[in-house]
Amino acid sequence: MTVELERASVIRGRRPILNSADLICQPGELTVLMGPNGAGKSTALQVLAGVTGCDSGRCLFHGQAIARLSRAELARRRGVVAQTSQLAFPFQVHEVISMGRTPHYGYPRAQNDESVMNAVMERMDIFELASRNYLTLSGGERQRVNIARVLAQLFDHPPTEVPWLFLDEPTAALDLKHQIELMKLLEQLAAKGWGLVVVLHDLRLVRDHADKVVLFRNGSVIGAGSKSQWLTPEMIQSTFGLEEPYDLGLAD
């Protein structure tokens, strides 16, 4: 029940933006992808989620090649929160969230639409935004709506299934309170057995919440494992190309 990359490469133009990456993500833990801008984190996330295909190598979702799963089937088992949303039409917030239920249309789980929508809106603290026009929301509010929409895709998963959530810098636009609440929620989901893969820049959030870290540089995975092993001051310095070691205070 893992999601894996096997020597996965993505090439844009002539440049590999992901270079023969190997990676295994386990359900029940919060896997954080880290690295400097343009290091290939977002691309790796998209390949893991099956949104982008790889030019060589492959991605395995629960042992099956992800490219061979049907889009609709995949959409009922994993959700993707992208960095930015392109919505430019004045939908009300509850309509945006109901779009998360698209993959269940015509399937038994469609019966749960309304209760799931209520639950995820409560969870993301956007209940009072329900009738607002999405285009008039602030960046952070939009981000919470998008996360709620993706949660709505998976919230009523059958107990036998492991849902996967892929989030690309989900905390970027959030205020401190909602950052903390989101990380708490992700921890709770991990404890319930969900698979969670998150791109994060905030090292303190990584220090406090990650179960496993994956370091990227120049399109390659340069390390994956526990925080204490990889988040040493020297490792952070070389990964991000800093002038001095950066101490997160993880050494005990």
């Binding site: 989620a49 939908f91 779009m99 993959p103 209520n118």
Partner: protein, 366 residues
């Protein structure tokens, strides 16, 4: 006085509110369409009463074989007014729904088949076929009969959609300014092509051609209407089926893909179906501007952007407005007739300016 206590609406209530409002809008548009169709048949140089219409239908259906109705009235209803009303309704529905689909496809509310040259592309292909293909026409006509012209116009429209999309598409993101400018350029080229062909055309062809530049429902006979009508109905039914994936597509192509939507297939279908409807509409009644722009906006103002209401609403309202526009075109300068495009552009142009102004203010707001 009874004051409602302040309470938050739950999503469930909001969903019902939207659904109720959407259905009301559809019902209102349908009533407007019925009214437009009735007036279209009744009004004109020869006044026709509602009784005549009922009698004609009754005798056609064999309910009242010896209903009393004059042969003239019956001929006017069956051979002149009905085909014209049907054509008007279908053309309006096609343009309205195509406009809605295109605005979703380009993820921009300013897309319109008339504005970005899709109608003109279809018209150019049709005109070229008439003027240059005299020899070709007889062979193709023999093969496809009266389907030939709508099919040729469809291909012209499809080519235009394809070119504009290729130009405006950057890594799966549509650059809106490029789309509008490419559309303006395509439109200008097609119109200039039509102008040149008009110059080449002989007198009998010329009469056919004037129609393509400004649009008219005149000369609607069953023989001309039915083939195009078949294509438009196929296009309309296909477009209505796209409402859910089109909603998801508004989130962006990556997000729609993550929701399980086959983005490439939906885009292909959207392009084909709009080209089919717009091409067929253009083949029989020329370029009718602004219907595809104005109608979806009017519907969206009331229902919100959900395609499950915007698409059928735009089809119904487009059909109704087209019939009323045709009434104005026919009756305002009777016994002469205004080109239909003159009427729709006179209403649609100012509306377009209003849209731009509204967007301008919206972008200035913090």
């Amino acid at each position: 006085m009874n004051v409602e206590p302040y309470s938050l609406s739950s999503p469930t209530q909001l969903i019902y509110q939207r659904r109720r409002r959407g259905r009301l809008v559809l019902l209102a548009c349908a009533c407007l369409l019925i009214l437009g169709a009735l007036l279209s048949v009744m009004l004109g140089p020869l006044d026709i009463s509602a009784q005549d219409i009922v009698a004609t239908f009754a005798s056609r259906l064999g309910l009242a074989p010896d209903a009393e109705i004059g042969m003239v009235q019956r001929g006017v209803i069956e051979q002149i007014r009905l085909p014209r009303a049907l054509l008007g309704a279908l053309v309006g529905a096609s343009l309205g729904a195509s406009g809605a689909i295109m605005q979703g496809f380009f993820r921009n509310p300013l897309a319109d088949p008339g504005l970005i040259g899709v109608s003109a592309g279809g018209a150019l292909a049709a005109v070229a076929f008439i003027v240059l293909g005299a020899g070709l026409m007889s062979t193709v006509m023999a093969q496809f009969g009266s389907f030939a012209l709508p099919v040729v116009a469809f291909l012209g429209s499809l080519a235009t959609v394809f070119i504009i999309y290729q130009l405006a598409n950057l890594d799966g993101r549509v650059v809106v300014t490029t789309m509008l400018l490419a559309g303006v350029a395509a439109n200008a080229m097609a119109v200039s092509g039509i102008g040149y062909l008009t110059f080449l055309a002989d007198d009998t062809q010329l009469r056919d051609l004037t129609l393509w530049t400004l649009g008219t429902l005149g000369g609607a006979t069953w023989e001309r209407v039915l083939p195009a009508a078949a294509l438009m109905v196929i296009g309309l039914l296909g477009m209505l089926r796209l409402s859910r994936p089109m909603n998801a597509l508004l989130l962006g192509e990556a997000d729609a893909g993550a929701l399980g939507v086959n983005v490439e297939r939906v885009k292909r279908q959207a392009a084909l179906l709009t080209a089919l409807s717009v091409g067929a509409a253009t083949a029989v009644c020329g370029i009718v501007a602004f219907v595809g722009l104005v109608v979806p906006h009017l519907v969206r103002l009331v229902t919100g952007p959900d395609h499950r209401y915007v698409l059928p609403g735009s089809a119904l309202l487009g059909a109704a407005l087209m019939l009323f526009a045709d009434l104005v075109a026919r009756l305002s300068v009777a016994p002469a007739e205004l080109p239909l495009g003159v009427v729709t552009a006179a209403v649609g142009g100012p509306f377009f300016i209003w849209l731009l102004l509204r967007d301008k203010h919206r972008h200035q707001a913090p």
